[in-house]
């Protein structure tokens, strides 16, 4: 079987100790919560931290509390199975609960966490492989090599942001809280991500993501749709999150404001701004939905590094965005 490399395992008693341990470990350190991303990556030698700090048991990371201005503050250590079944989320943040329910398998959702999903390592068919496999391609830019095999002339890595909750949180305008020995800061989830397969987050390595704050449910609606090969297990090959404020009832309400965010088509969640501009201030007709789909299709640039063909992954952006908009109603 695949075996883990040797490493030092630390289990802090509290948040402060966790943060100190991480600072002490320096670049050789790594936090682990559910471990559903890190342990397999370590078995494949994609990551080889010398010190692993296990924060899974810290109760402070697993709470659900009222957030500022009527929002909701979720501990980053909440299990995904808790997120998908949490009563407040089901009542007011259906897109969040649904997004969590589409991740991986029920068993892995019992281990994987909210924060872990947002910080999921970017994925690529040239990278998510064993050491032996990667050696056979002479490794890649993201780990142990120089070239990005997805686009060999490219100066950057094209690994894919494959979190289901990332586009949802960006669309909702949620915030994350990051904490280190230097203190605490909160940033919009949109600012957490960077469009680079290797340096895909703006979080400093020693920072711990402690909480996610959702905005107050004051009349907006949101949906999430996931395209993947199978009804379980698979990472998205396209995630579509739509948030909107609609005015007036009826079958074709007016779009006051809208955010459309695509997941799994780049190294960061992608805002489909042209599609949003088409919709804003206009009635949400079937024709408008189709036009928005076409506008979102343009900036989506999937690369050949996930399941299914890149042409198809781009093509399905049109119907998926239109269908997500239709689901708002």
């Amino acid at each position: 079987m695949l075996r883990l490399p040797p490493f030092e395992y630390l289990r802090p008693a509290g948040l402060e100790e966790a943060i100190r341990m991480r600072a002490d470990a320096g670049p050789a350190g790594q936090f682990v919560a559910g471990g559903t991303d890190l342990w397999p990556n370590m078995k494949r030698r994609q990551e080889t931290p010398a010190v692993v700090i296990d924060i899974a048991a810290l109760p402070v990371l697993r709470g659900v509390a009222a957030g500022p201005g009527g929002g909701l503050r979720l501990g980053a250590g909440l299990r995904l199975s808790e997120v998908e079944s949490q009563r407040d989320l089901l009542a007011a943040y259906g897109a969040v609960a649904h997004g969590a329910s589409t991740i991986s398998t029920p068993l892995l959702r019992n281990m994987g966490t909210l924060g872990g999903n947002l910080l999921l390592d970017t994925r690529c068919n040239y990278y998510d492989q064993t050491f032996e496999w990667r050696r056979s391609i002479d490794f890649c830019m993201k780990k142990d090599g120089d070239t990005c095999w997805v686009a060999p002339g490219s100066p950057r890595c094209w690994a894919v942001q494959s979190s289901d909750l990332a586009p949802v949180m960006v669309a909702l305008g949620a915030e994350v809280t990051l904490r280190s020995t230097a203190g605490e800061r909160s940033i919009p989830v949109a600012a957490l991500y960077a469009d680079d397969g290797m340096k895909f987050t703006t979080k400093r390595p020693e920072e711990l993501l402690t909480a996610v704050t959702l905005p107050a449910p004051d009349g907006w609606r949101a949906v999430y749709r996931k395209v993947r090969r199978r009804g379980s297990f698979d990472f998205p090959v396209l995630g579509t999150a739509v948030w909107a404020r609609l005015a007036g009832g009826g079958p074709e309400p007016l779009v006051e404001d809208v955010r459309i965010v695509l997941g799994a088509v780049g190294s960061a969640p992608l805002r489909a701004r042209a599609a949003e501009d088409l919709l804003r201030g206009k009635p949400l007709t079937e024709e408008a939905m189709r036009a928005a789909g076409a506008a979102a299709w343009k900036p989506a640039k999937p690369m050949d590094n996930t399941d299914l063909t890149l042409g198809w992954r781009k093509d399905v952006v049109r119907p998926e965005v239109a269908r997500a908009l239709a689901e708002l109603l």
């Binding site: 032996e132 496999w133 391609i137 060999p152 379980s232 399941d307 399905v316 119907p319």
Partner: protein
């Protein structure tokens, strides 16, 4: 001769003998075994698809902590392979690597981690060679040779057979229908990863426990490579956590741990990773095909011409047989009066292909059944009624001299027509929904063994004693298909006891008589017949002793419900145990044997070894699909499948085999692909269970299974196979249903969303609504062997030999049209 009539066991849903252990986790698979002082083995594999080995330096590895032995190709110089004509593998590559994953060196160490670290410390210098990644590139690149044998350049095998004058057949046709098809390679994906544990016993002999479907052939390979007397090698086949053909070859890792155990004197174990299982492969050959059919207006075939090109991967494996199988069974379902087959297999720098469930027949069956759908469409006929009209008759010879016995395909078609509501659905469902039909057939065991000889294919020994206990010994291997349960059931049925009263000892070359292995759907028929023979002999011993005791003629003795009694006065009798005591007292120590050798095939031409079988199973399948016209995504909510099993020995396990076949077929139909990267050597794209897509429970459809029981004279109690046939019709049924739903043809497996969408986009643009290959690369299939079909006076031999041979050989062919 009519088959034996079932008693109280056969045909019921009796408990699977290994069921309780399996569901409670007590079954010991090879990877569960551990012995004191056991060492762990790791293999170092090639990172290059094609390269010469210039030098190997193992000094650093040998000096590492915990390392007890390091092997390279020099230590195991003798080649091996499953087929006598393809002895082209080495346990460790001596001078050349042929695919990424080919093993080069092995380490035995105290822990698996130490073995891995040491393997990484071995230095190998390679000189890279041009890489061949497809049939097309193999045909284009005759040099350098991947192997120094084969029919031409990198073409491993060429076949060209013609039964009757097909040109004449095409001239008699009202319509000619031609098309090209492609079936992508896919793999077995057993849940159990291969594992082996070898030990040198105190008397200097070798014992190996392994996840193998073919202990007999592993026994042969170990004997050959290690140079040990066969009698000093013991192979124990552990229960397999799924085989599907992927554990049918003798494997390099098995030979390596055996050698390491002999060398170190300590038990040595290996457990392959999932990635390494992908490198063992031996799965479905990627196959390009062209089909030309001549048909009359009523759908009757006048001639059929099939061409197949198989991408074989880096070694021979079963490939020669696989290639013949792509042309063998087209003739057993519908009447084919004239038939021509051209096939070739090329060597490429990929993990070797071999026998996956259906072995070489799913690819041409897909092409043929989609082609039949096309023919019906062209002629304006219902594809089901058209097939029904032109079935190959029971008890007949085909154009290529296959002897068909019982033939329940007509009944299968009628069953699925009624159950699926075919008449109300086909061509009548709203856009996006559709139904498709396909038929198929499979052998119940190959008529000829891999090593041609006059020996039995299966043997069963029975031991009975005063305890009333019965033990059945057989070399057959339970790979989850339920062969242990079939063995217990056949014996129990004849002896009038419960299957759980029978202790089964199987798959152990020291303890059990030879059975050739769990491949070619042979076990139920062959082992079953041997078991019935052994049990009938035991029954005679027991009945004879009881008859003597009761003072009645032996013919009046019945065995039933664990009693042995007088049929005319059932109260007069004794328990089965008392009967065994009486029999042991009369005859001495009790033991009987039974064996089975298939009937000789009437085919005599070169290449006639593949296709003949004692009996053929038949299937008809209707798939219902939902196609998203905007994305091309296909869902299969329901499948109806009727399977002519001759006689179900155990109803539940038979249905289990049918449902398992449908599940695997659905994966092939919709998503499974052994795909490779071309830009970095020929590396497997995603050797993992996450990215090699195979259906989950979410994709599995509802299955309605109908068992059709048309007892075959050659089967035990009339029984035929169930393990492979039911997979075959699923892929074409799904493809045909997609056409019914949205009007496009995907002439490729898998029928994945991107292909369906592409075909839909072409249709919308006014082009042909089709996704599939344009043609086959030009190739030479070698000199043709012509054989006259039975109805044209053929005697099963090459026409040249028939003319040269004794005059007047054109005798009566039974069953000929």
């Amino acid at each position: 001769m009519a088959p034996r009539k079932p008693g109280k066991v056969v045909g019921t849903a009796y408990l699977k003998v290994d069921g309780p252990d399996k569901v409670t986790g007590r079954t010991l698979f090879a990877d569960d075994l551990a012995l004191p002082r056991m060492l762990w083995c790791k293999l170092l594999r090639s990172p290059h698809a094609h390269a010469r080995i210039l030098a190997i330096d193992t000094a650093a590895a040998a000096a590492m902590p915990g390392v007890k032995a390091v092997l390279t190709g020099r230590d195991l110089p003798t080649p091996f392979g499953i087929l006598p004509v393809s002895q082209d593998e080495h346990a460790l590559c001596p001078d050349r690597v042929r695919f990424i994953g080919d093993p080069v060196a092995a380490v035995a160490a105290e822990t698996e981690e130490q073995a891995l670290e040491a393997a990484h410390a071995i230095r190998v210098d390679y000189e890279r060679l041009p890489e061949i990644d497809s049939v097309q590139s193999a045909l284009r690149t005759p040099e350098p040779l991947i192997h120094d044998y084969g029919d031409a350049g990198n073409v491993h095998k060429r076949i060209h057979l013609e039964f009757g004058d097909t040109e004449k057949g095409f001239a008699e046709a009202d319509e000619i229908v031609e098309q090209n098809y492609f079936f992508e390679g896919n793999t077995h994906l057993p849940l159990e990863q291969h594992a082996s544990l070898a030990v040198k016993t105190p008397d200097g002999k070798l014992c190996i426990w392994s996840s193998t479907q073919t202990p007999h052939y592993l026994h042969r390979a170990l004997t050959k490579v290690l140079g040990m007397p066969a009698a000093h090698v013991r192979v124990v086949a552990c229960p397999n956590g799924g085989g599907f053909g992927g554990k049918s070859d003798p494997f390099n890792h098995e030979i390596v741990v055996a050698k390491l155990a002999l060398l170190t004197g300590r038990p040595v174990k290996i457990g392959l990773t999932r990635e390494e299982v992908f490198y063992c492969h031996r799965g479905r050959h990627p196959t390009l095909m062209s089909v030309k059919a001549g048909v009359r207006r009523d759908g009757a075939l006048t001639a059929l011409h099939f061409r197949t090109q198989l991408d074989g991967g880096a070694y021979g494996s079963y490939g020669v047989a696989s290639t013949y199988y792509t042309g063998a069974l087209q003739t057993v379902t519908y009447r084919v009066p004239r038939y021509r087959f051209e096939g070739l297999r090329a060597f490429t720098n990929k993990p070797p292909c071999g026998p996956k469930r259906g072995h070489g027949t799913p690819q041409p069956r897909f092409a043929l059944e989609v082609h039949m759908d096309r023919i019906a469409e062209r002629l304006g006929l219902d594809p089901l009624e058209m097939r029904l009209r032109h079935l190959q008759p029971a008890n007949s010879l085909t154009a290529n001299f296959l002897q068909v016995g019982s033939m329940g395909l007509g009944k299968c078609l009628e069953e699925v027509r009624e159950r699926s509501g075919w008449r109300e659905k086909h061509g009548k469902l709203p856009r996006g929904r559709g139904v498709g039909l396909a038929c198929s057939s499979y052998i119940s065991g190959a008529g000829l063994p891999i090593y041609w000889n006059a020996l039995p294919h299966s043997g069963v020994q029975l031991r009975l004693d005063r305890s009333g206990g019965v033990t059945a010994f057989c070399g057959a291997t339970d790979i989850g298909q339920g062969s242990d349960t079939v063995l217990a059931g056949c014996v129990a049925d004849v002896l009038g006891i419960d299957p759980l009263d029978v202790r089964v000892v199987t798959g152990d070359t020291d303890l059990t008589p030879v059975d050739l292995g769990s491949y070619s759907s042979r076990v139920t028929l062959m082992m079953g017949n041997a078991a019935v023979e052994a049990a009938e002999r035991a029954r005679a011993l027991v009945a004879g002793a009881v008859a003597e005791k009761l003072g009645v003629p032996a013919e009046r003795i019945a065995l039933e419900d664990r009693r042995v009694f007088d049929l005319e006065d059932p109260a007069k009798g004794m328990t089965f145990q008392e009967a065994c005591i009486a029999a042991e007292a009369k005859h001495g120590t009790l033991g009987t044997v039974g064996s089975y050798t298939p009937p000789r095939s009437p085919a005599r031409f070169r290449g006639a070894g593949v296709g003949p079988s004692p009996a053929y199973s038949y299937q008809a399948c209707v798939a219902e699909v939902e196609v998203d016209p905007e994305t091309g995504e296909v869902k299969v909510p329901r499948i109806w499948i009727a399977h002519d099993v001759g006689r179900a020995i155990n109803r539940t396990t038979t249905i289990g085999q049918v449902e398992g076949g449908v599940y695997m077929g659905l994966g092939e139909a919709l998503m499974e692909e052994m795909a490779y990267r071309g830009n970095r050597g020929v590396v497997h794209k995603f050797p993992s269970m996450l990215e090699y897509k195979s259906p989950t429970t979410r994709e599995m459809c509802e299955v309605e299974t109908i068992l059709v029981e048309d007892p075959d004279p050659n089967g035990p109690f009339g029984g035929k196979e169930a393990g492979q046939g039911p997979l075959l019709p699923v892929m074409p049924a799904v493809a045909n249903a997609v056409f019914d739903a949205v009007g496009v043809r995907v002439d490729e497996i898998p029928v994945s969303a991107p292909k369906v969408l592409k075909a839909l986009q072409r249709l919308a643009a006014g082009q042909e609504g089709r996704y599939g290959p344009a043609g086959l690369p030009a190739a030479d299939y070698g000199e043709v062997t012509r054989v006259l079909p039975p109805w044209e006076g053929g005697d099963g031999r090459d026409m040249k030999k028939q003319e040269v041979g004794a005059g007047g050989v054109r005798g009566h062919i039974p069953g000929g049209k």
